[in-house]
């Protein structure tokens, strides 16, 4: 197993862990963190596989795609966090109404 494949598998693990966290947690901040972890997982898979064959140079296109993806993810996270702060301010809780915890 080469380093590239190893990192790609780690990326897959991150994606699935994030998905689990997104569904299970009811606190909005944890959901947002879970989405970020999933995003990191996908980017890791994208960039790790860019150099998976021995003796070939790294493929620059996935690197550029990941930069684009990171910027998009930052924008989305910023919006999500601000929206969450607004929800907390208006409703007093950081959860969805039907999800409220014990």
């Amino acid at each position: 197993m080469t380093a590239a494949i190893f990192y790609a598998l780690v990326g897959i693990a991150l994606f699935c862990t994030g998905l689990f966290g997104l569904i299970i947690n009811s606190h909005l901040l944890r959901k947002i963190l879970a989405i970020n972890i999933m995003g990191s997982g996908v980017f890791l898979v994208l960039v790790a596989l860019a150099k998976r064959t021995e003796n070939m140079p790294a493929d620059p296109v996935p690197h550029a795609m990941v930069i684009t993806g990171i910027v998009v993810a930052i924008s989305a996270t910023a919006l999500a966090l601000t929206l969450m702060l607004k929800v907390v301010k208006e409703t007093g809780h950081a959860t969805f109404p039907d999800d409220e915890e014990k």
């Binding site: 994606f15 989405i35 996935p62 993806g69 924008s75 989305a76 999500a80 929206l83």
Partner: protein, 490 residues
């Protein structure tokens, strides 16, 4: 003539993408002039769409290699009949919504609405013109983030939680889609649709990509059972935003889904599994959505559940359409555009009613027919199209689907389509019935501006007019490079 060919040479497609962005920048710089700038931009978009349409009719499929590099190194823009219809719908519905919005929002909200709305229009145009699956990811994100921002505009509790749910759902969906793109790129070395269509071969990565991208796009299109985010978001957004969400935003991800399906995945499929599953979910959506719509006591939630149901009809393309250009393909394309017109008319009418009476409880709609006749007419005409009664665009769409279902002996789908129409009639009449009667408690009425009423009415009339435009629309749809095997039929 020189001027005529010069007109044809203008890159209308690129203008469609750049103009709303320029408009958004100007709106951001000059907040006091947002309404004027927004309307000018919309006029420009509508003109460009007609320019592109003419270009398409004269010169066939439109292709543009951004940067001059050509796929797979660069990004390709591509427009055929289907893209053209989606772009035209976006431009016309967008224009009506813009006119409505100039009267609907006060200055504070307008300053926030217009730059984001113009970015959303740019995202839609860029999406319908793109032929690169990674580029589609970026446009999907732009679309999703602007849609969420617009949903949260009023700042009410329901709007904020609805927007938050929508945001999380759309981000999850985008990541699933992106993962699929990653797998396809690393399998075949390109993200261009045309190149992928030539080189794609069945492999575990392709099946995984299909599953991931499909799930992501199904979540964005709110197909049952992944529709949970739609009613709260569409029901609590301001009226013009609900209109653009139901009419345009959910159709964008559906467009990508059918493009990917017919270009990449369908040729690889052996059995019927995916088509059957999607047909089943679509039927469930039609029935579930319609029943839920009947149970609502608030008008905007009723209309939102109606969207869930109507989206189900769109997914009948999977079991019924064997290829691009078949009867069911035309039917679903027709349904997309008539639903866009009719549903936006409904939401705008609901907005008028809300503005007028201060509430949107169906049981308390007080003699609306007398006091807001234009709005009642708009809702009624839109309802005709949603029910699928002749003459209307909705009727033609459903008729074509019925024809395809009968041709394939799919009696189950025939039953679902007919039942869906009956249920739609039930919930439309539920609303219309209340508009004739006096409410138990009379309400203080505020006036509704003429532009708001006319915007709603014109959209509804458009939905009806579509019933008469079958031949021209079909001829535009036929501009496609995938050979039409079985032909349109009628």
């Amino acid at each position: 003539m020189v001027t005529q060919t010069a007109y044809l040479d203008i890159p209308w497609g690129i203008i469609l993408i750049l103009l709303p962005l320029v408009g958004a920048m100007f709106c951001f710089l000059f907040p006091r002039k947002v309404k004027v700038l927004g309307l000018i931009t919309n006029i420009g978009i509508t003109m460009s769409v007609f320019g592109l349409g003419w270009q398409l009719l004269e010169q066939g499929i439109y292709r543009h290699s951004v940067g001059g590099w050509g796929a797979p190194l660069g990004i390709e823009l591509y427009a055929d009949g289907l893209s053209m219809l989606m772009l035209t719908t976006t431009a016309l519905v967008g224009f009506a919504i813009s006119i409505y919005s100039t009267s609907y929002f006060n200055q504070t909200l307008a300053v926030r609405f217009w730059p984001i709305w113009l970015c959303l229009l740019a995202a839609l145009n860029a999406l319908f013109l793109s032929a690169d699956i990674f580029n589609l990811y970026v446009t999907l994100e732009l679309l999703g983030l602007s849609a969420v921002a617009l949903t949260a505009l009023t700042g009410s509790k329901e709007a904020l939680t609805g927007a938050m749910r929508y945001l999380l759902a759309t981000l999850l969906a985008s990541l699933a889609y992106l993962f699929g793109v990653v797998l396809l790129y690393h399998s075949f070395g390109s993200v261009d649709l045309t190149v992928l269509a030539e080189t794609i071969k069945a492999s575990p990565a392709v099946w995984a990509a299909m599953g991931l991208m499909g799930t992501g796009l199904l979540l964005k299109t709110a197909l049952f059972p992944l529709h949970f985010w739609l009613p709260p978001a569409h029901g609590s957004a301001p009226a013009p935003v609900s209109a653009l969400l139901s009419a345009l935003v959910v159709k964008a991800s559906f467009y990508i889904l059918i493009r990917l399906w017919f270009t990449l995945f369908e040729p690889l499929m052996d059995g019927d599994g995916v088509e059957t599953l999607l047909g089943l979910l679509g039927s469930a959506a039609i029935l579930w959505g319609s029943v839920q719509a009947l149970r609502q006591s608030r008008l905007k939630l009723l209309i939102a559940y109606s969207t869930v149901a109507q989206i189900g009809y769109l997914f009948l393309i999977f079991p019924l359409a064997t290829s691009v250009g078949s009867v069911a393909w035309n039917g679903v394309a027709y349904l997309i555009i008539s639903h866009a017109l009719a549903k936006s008319a409904m939401f705008l009418s609901a907005g008028n009613l809300l503005h007028y009476g201060g509430h949107d409880r169906i049981a308390d709609l007080d003699r609306v027919v007398q006091r807001l006749p234009l709005t009642a007419a708009a809702f009624g005409l839109a309802g005709v199209s949603i029910m699928g009664l002749p003459p209307s665009g909705g009727f033609i769409g459903k008729w074509l689907l019925l024809e395809a279902a009968l041709a394939n002996s799919r009696w189950d789908l025939v039953a679902v389509i007919i039942l869906g129409g009956l249920l739609a009639a039930a919930y439309v009449f539920k609303v219309i019935g209340h508009t004739f009667t006096q409410a138990p408690v009379t309400h203080e009425a505020k006036s509704v501006s003429a532009s708001m009423e006319w915007a709603a009415l014109l959209l509804a009339v458009g939905a009806i007019l579509l019933g008469f435009l079958y031949v021209p629309i079909l001829s535009i749809l036929e501009i496609s490079e995938i050979a039409i095997t079985s032909g349109g039929g009628l």
